[in-house]
């Protein structure tokens, strides 16, 4: 047995010893322990250092509200900083270390900070470090940053997996103490769908920590029986190790720790699971958190919440001290005296600030020196408590103790009810904030509602559980009356004992003292929110669970206001800190976003394609051949092959929308800037689509394959946006139009076949029966032809400027089509080409694409002004006609050629006149797209330049300071290759 473990009792498994280590020291605990209880059982006091003054600190609580006992759990990439020792379930091999200290926990150099405390008061940094200005980033700030912070991240990628899940229920019960268990059982028995969550690994809440009986059973036994019955109900789901952390609109966020308590994460299992719970009703039964009292030296290791002391004794059979005194203002504190007495280690003294204590309460203590109407002024000690100074009617007195249990009242754990903006209200009677206005579907039970007795908790749970069941359409057989005692629970509020010599901490973790609160008040930070921000009170990892109320009570006293007048700060999610990994779940690394693959992806991979992310898609960027060492070499070869012979390119990623219905023509006339109602069957037309604000949204082609069979294509990037826009136009603007449309992007695999020999390839592909002659399929024609077992759509359109076609087949044949095209073109030297070659050729032809359709350009800027119909209304027309958008000085599309051959142009460079300094006033535009043109044997570019079309022939400066580029280029027509368009037909 370890030094402070009781010989019997508790809910630990004495048969299962567990080895673990703290700061490298090997120790032993038991199954059922937390790290904190195991440390207590081993007599370890000093567990951490405080944030600012590096004061020695010990364990204060037995739950997630713990401000002090934060440790780094685990090693290497699994190291988890700031983990509360009070919530770590002990497991074999657990390796925990203290943090924020150097060189060691016992001897921490930065502890000298506490001697400078008078100048390190609240907000001191706002008042200094201003001179000389340059030293802030170089000296002061790095020093502050190093001293601040708590634990360390490993710096390596988190090796564990996380997952997410959704669940739905009639009633979500948060907290499985007596109130939550009673509610879940009542609603569950009635047949309601119940989810019961508790952050603990064992159900029961305070029942596990108190000597109480329910239905004549010891608390833990009753909890076990209820758990067994709940588990037998198929309509009830129990989630242990699960913290509900946030109330959102209609949803509750919770995080389940799946494997944190296991020595090693089983392969394939996630570490944690993020739950989104969607309940019809929520019952908050989260209990209450005990409130400490602020007095001198109240941070000494050994000073602990009275209920936490009891928890260690009753649940974990671990004795937090051998000479323990109690400082209380509550009846409940006296229960701790009873626990210690039962454990054979009666308290050294009881100091109750109240002058009168009911006899029944006094009886709990047994034969212990009691000081009524007294206070603890100072706790004395260094790394461990040695004595306390008390004052009272008897005068001043020093008591030698090694532990001090403190009970200042209870704060109902109501934060979740405030996440949607509702505020709790102060109750003088209970000396606590209790539920005020609540969200519509939320109820609160038990200690969380400020009803502090066990009987009340059970009754609340049963009543509200039954209510929720009824609301969900079930009839509870009867509301069970759980039998339990009504223990005394009076409180006389005491927040602060003035006059001590030691520092009196309000916020233990952030080292905020009573004098910091006083200083803030003096300096005008008298709004609670100002107080919080100026002193950082309540901003630590515990979010003020044990400090906020004391802080505002002290502020209230200083400013002559009541507590309700002073008000509370706003609580926010997450209620308990949640691993960022859990909030991300699966979606990291390559799973960050889904990946779309074209039907012929496998074929392209076989061809050795280099792929590029294109929005959600992966597209073949180029197809390197053996011996090619540089992308430009491959791309140049691909371009030359297309321009000289024939190439094929997978364009399946283009958005495709099927349209049908009598009003398609009218509809297209309204959504496109140019006219479509006149498009004959068998024809394709290039279309330009504007946003309503007049700027260009997208371009593409629409083909009319039959009288009522239209298919629109969009750019890859804008496919979703255009579909949504068309649905808007149809459903919101013109529901009277009889138009049907649906995306068919997935249905069709599509390949461009381009080059002077493209028709030859088609002839080989489709065979002699098919007529792909220019007469049958002229430029901008379209048709449907049999191809193998299917039918292909054939469009004669060209992005490259060459004679070109696009062939579409049902996606299941996409891979076959690629292979068939390669086979049919073998003798023609068919060359697969990727998006780079595609881009080179469109730049050579002056076709605009994503870089020019950047949402900042109007049709006129792109040289497409003549496409804007004057004969009809369409989306964007009126706004595009605004004078400012038609000024010649707007940057307008031009081509650029370097004056010196071989010089490279880069997109993003700006265009300036020659012979002027490179300043903003001379900025005349920028380069949008560049390529090495094998056809011209030169780098070329498209650019948007002020007055561009009027300046062909002018030499300009292409200024690219971020890449140290500065070259001269000539403004030319944006169409570099075949301006007459002869090749389209030839």
């Amino acid at each position: 047995m370890t030094s402070h473990r009781l010989a019997s009792g508790g809910l630990i498994d004495r048969a299962t010893p567990i080895g673990f280590s703290f700061d490298g020291r090997p120790l032993t605990g038991h199954a059922g322990d937390t790290l904190a209880s195991a440390l207590v059982a081993n007599g370890i006091r000093l567990v951490g250092r405080s944030f600012k003054y590096h004061r020695p600190r010990g364990i204060v609580s037995a739950g997630p509200e713990e401000p002090n006992a934060l440790v780094e759990k685990g090693r290497g990439p699994r190291r988890e900083p700031n983990t509360r020792a009070t919530t770590i379930e002990l497991h074999p091999g657990l390796d925990a270390a203290s943090q924020n200290r150097w060189p060691s926990l016992a001897f921490d150099i930065q502890a000298i900070a506490q001697f400078a405390a008078p100048i390190l008061g609240a907000g001191f940094y706002y008042k200094t470090f201003m001179w000389p200005a340059a030293l802030w980033e170089r000296l002061y700030e790095p020093a502050i940053r190093r001293a601040a912070g708590l634990g360390r991240l490993s710096g390596a990628a988190d090796p564990d997996a996380y997952e997410k899940a959704h669940a739905f229920c009639d009633l979500l019960v948060i907290g499985a103490g007596p109130a939550g268990l009673a509610a879940a059982l009542t609603a569950g028995r009635a047949g309601a769908r119940v989810i019961l969550v508790d952050q603990d690994f064992r159900l029961g809440g305070r029942l596990l920590c108190e000597r109480v009986e329910v239905d004549a059973m010891p608390g833990p036994v009753w909890a076990g029986e209820v758990e067994a019955e709940l588990k037998s109900l198929s309509n009830v789901r129990i989630l242990t190790r699960t913290s509900a952390f946030g109330l959102y609109d209609g949803e509750v966020g919770a995080v389940e720790r799946l494997t944190d308590h296991l020595p090693v994460t089983p392969a394939g299992e996630a570490r944690q699971r993020l739950w989104t719970l969607v309940p019809k009703r929520i019952l908050l039964a989260a209990g209450a958190i005990e409130r400490p009292i602020v007095f001198g030296g109240n941070d000494r290791p050994g000073v602990m919440l009275a209920s936490a002391m009891r928890t260690y004794v009753e649940r974990y059979a671990a004795l937090p001290g051998r000479q323990v005194a109690l400082f209380t203002t509550t009846d409940d504190g006296w229960q701790t005296a009873a626990s210690f007495a039962r454990a054979g280690s009666p308290l050294a003294a009881i100091i109750d600030a109240r002058r009168e204590v009911p006899e029944a309460v006094r009886a709990l203590a047994g034969d212990v020196p009691v000081f009524l109407g007294a206070r603890v002024l100072d706790a004395i000690g260094g790394q461990s408590l040695r004595a306390i100074d008390i004052v009272g009617d008897h005068g001043r007195r020093r008591l030698a103790v090694d532990g001090l249990a403190v009970s200042g009242g209870f704060n109902p754990d109501l934060a979740l009810t405030t996440h949607l903006g509702h505020k709790p209200v102060w109750s003088d009677e209970r000396a606590a904030f209790i539920p005020g206005d609540l969200p519509a579907n939320v109820a609160v039970a038990g200690a969380a509602a400020g009803r502090f007795t066990l009987a009340a908790a059970l009754a609340d749970g049963a009543r509200l559980g039954a209510e929720a069941a009824r609301e969900a359409g079930h009839t509870p057989a009867e509301t069970p009356a759980f039998r339990a005692g009504d223990e005394p629970c009076a409180v006389a509020p005491l927040f602060h004992v003035e006059g001590g010599r030691g520092k009196a901490f309000v916020d233990l973790q952030n080292d905020v003292t009573d004098s910091d609160v006083a200083l803030a008040a003096r300096e005008g930070f008298v709004s609670v929110e100002h107080l919080k921000r100026y002193t950082t009170l309540g901003m630590a990892t515990d979010q003020g669970r044990t400090s906020s109320v004391n802080g505002l009570a002290i502020l209230a006293a200083l400013t002559g206001r009541t507590i309700p007048e002073t008000g509370t700060t706003r609580a926010r999610p997450p209620h308990v800190p949640v691993a960022i990994g859990a909030l991300a779940g699966l979606h990291r690394g390559r799973d960050f976003k889904p990946t779309r693959l074209t039907p012929a992806h496998g074929w392209a991979k076989e061809q050795g394609a280099i792929f590029v992310e294109s929005g959600p898609w992966l597209r073949a960027q180029w197809f390197p051949k053996a011996g090619e060492t540089d992308w430009l070499q491959s791309v140049t070869r691909e371009v030359e092959a297309v321009r000289a012979g024939v190439g094929i390119c997978d364009v399946s990623t283009l958005g495709k929308i099927a349209l049908s219905g009598p009003d398609v023509g009218t509809f297209l006339d309204r959504v496109y800037a140019n006219t479509f109602s006149t498009l004959p069957v068998g024809k394709v037309r290039y279309g330009l689509m504007l946003r309503e604000d007049g700027f260009v949204m997208d371009d593409g082609t629409t083909a009319r394959l039959g009288p009522d069979e239209w298919v629109m294509s969009t750019t890859t990037a804008n496919a979703g946006k255009v579909m949504q826009h068309l649905a808007f136009c149809h459903q919101v603007l013109w529901p009277e139009l009889d138009v049907q449309m649906v995306s068919v992007t997935e249905q069709w695999a599509q390949f461009a076949v381009a080059g002077p020999r493209s028709r030859d390839l088609l002839e080989a592909l489709f065979g002699p029966e098919a007529d792909v002659s220019d007469a049958a399929l002229p430029y901008l024609g379209c048709t449907t032809l049999a191809l193998g077992p299917t039918r292909a759509r054939l469009f004669r359109i060209s992005f490259s400027g060459e004679r070109a076609y696009e062939i579409a087949v049902p996606a299941g044949y996409g891979d076959a089509l690629a292979r068939a095209l390669m086979a049919a073109g073998r003798d023609l030297g068919v060359t697969p080409y990727g998006t780079e070659a595609l881009a080179v050729m469109r730049i050579e032809k002056g076709h605009v694409a994503g870089a020019e359709l950047n949402g900042q350009t109007v049709a006129r800027d792109l040289g497409l002004g003549r496409m804007l119909s004057k004969k009809k209304d369409y989306v964007g027309r009126l706004m595009a006609e605004r004078a400012a958008l038609n000024e010649a000085s707007r940057p307008t599309l031009v081509g650029l050629k370097p004056t010196v051959a071989g010089v490279r142009l880069r997109s993003g460079a700006h265009v300036l006149p020659l012979g002027v300094p490179p300043t903003a006033e001379h900025d005349q535009g920028y380069v949008t797209s560049t390529a090495y043109s094998p056809t011209l044997g030169s780098w070329i570019a498209l650019a948007l330049v002020a007055n561009g079309p009027a300046r062909h022939g002018e030499e300009v400066r292409i200024h690219d300071p971020v890449r140290s580029g500065d070259v001269v280029a000539t403004i030319v027509s944006p169409v570099f290759v075949d301006p007459e368009g002869a090749r389209l037909h030839g």
């Binding site: 394939g268 799973d591 889904p594 049908s660 997935e746 076959a816």
Partner: protein, 197 residues
């Protein structure tokens, strides 16, 4: 010249993706390949008539709502107002629909647009809830309900068998690999078998 058109193999979205993860027992995913499919969108004001015509074709009433109706080899899924996704085990599905719905609805071939998986097994619901933001409890989701929704950022159309033992997901075929990746990650602890085309 070799006949380029000789080996036109049709490939499903999950082609080549068969696998077994862990015990393989918790969940079974079987690709349903080769189904013909079409989107049917009622002409303006003709949703009810189109539903009736679809019902006639199936021999079971079809409604304008998120419901599944099966008849013979054809399954009609309501996917939006006046819109249905129809699956059928017959090559002529699109032609048959076009004939049956003449003047009532647009019929658009989608036979190759979707990759379809039948999911079944003892841990079906446990795995699905890791991606689906829908309540599949019988009280909330009837056996003939259809949902168009998303799993792990992938759009899905979901329906189930009458005995609720099989849940079918139709997803855009380009995303088959991504969906499978989610499925693998989610089913790994319980085991997964994928049988693809």
């Amino acid at each position: 010249m070799a006949d380029p058109v000789s080996d036109w193999t049709h490939r499903g979205g999950f082609a080549g993706l068969s696998r077994r993860i862990g015990s393989g027992e918790g969940l079974k995913a079987v690709e349903r390949a080769g189904l013909a499919a079409a989107t049917v969108i009622a002409r303006r004001g003709k949703a009810a008539d189109a539903a009736t015509a679809l019902g006639r074709m199936l021999g079971a009433p079809v409604v304008d709502g998120g419901k599944r109706t099966s008849g013979g080899d054809v399954t009609v899924l309501g996917t939006g107002p006046g819109t249905w996704l129809v699956f059928g085990d017959r090559p002529a599905l699109v032609a048959d629909l076009t004939a049956a719905l003449d003047g009532l609805a647009a019929v658009v071939d989608q036979s190759d647009a979707n990759a379809i998986l039948d999911l079944s097994g003892p841990r079906l619901v446990d795995v699905l809830e890791k991606g689906l933001r829908l309540d599949l409890h019988p009280a909330a989701f009837a056996a003939d309900d259809v949902a168009v929704t998303a799993i792990a950022h992938v759009g899905v159309t979901l329906w189930m068998s009458d005995d609720r033992a099989t849940v079918t997901l139709a997803i855009p075929r380009s995303l088959a690999g991504s969906l499978l990746h989610w499925l693998e990650a989610s089913a790994r602890p319980v085991g997964l078998t994928v049988e693809a085309d």
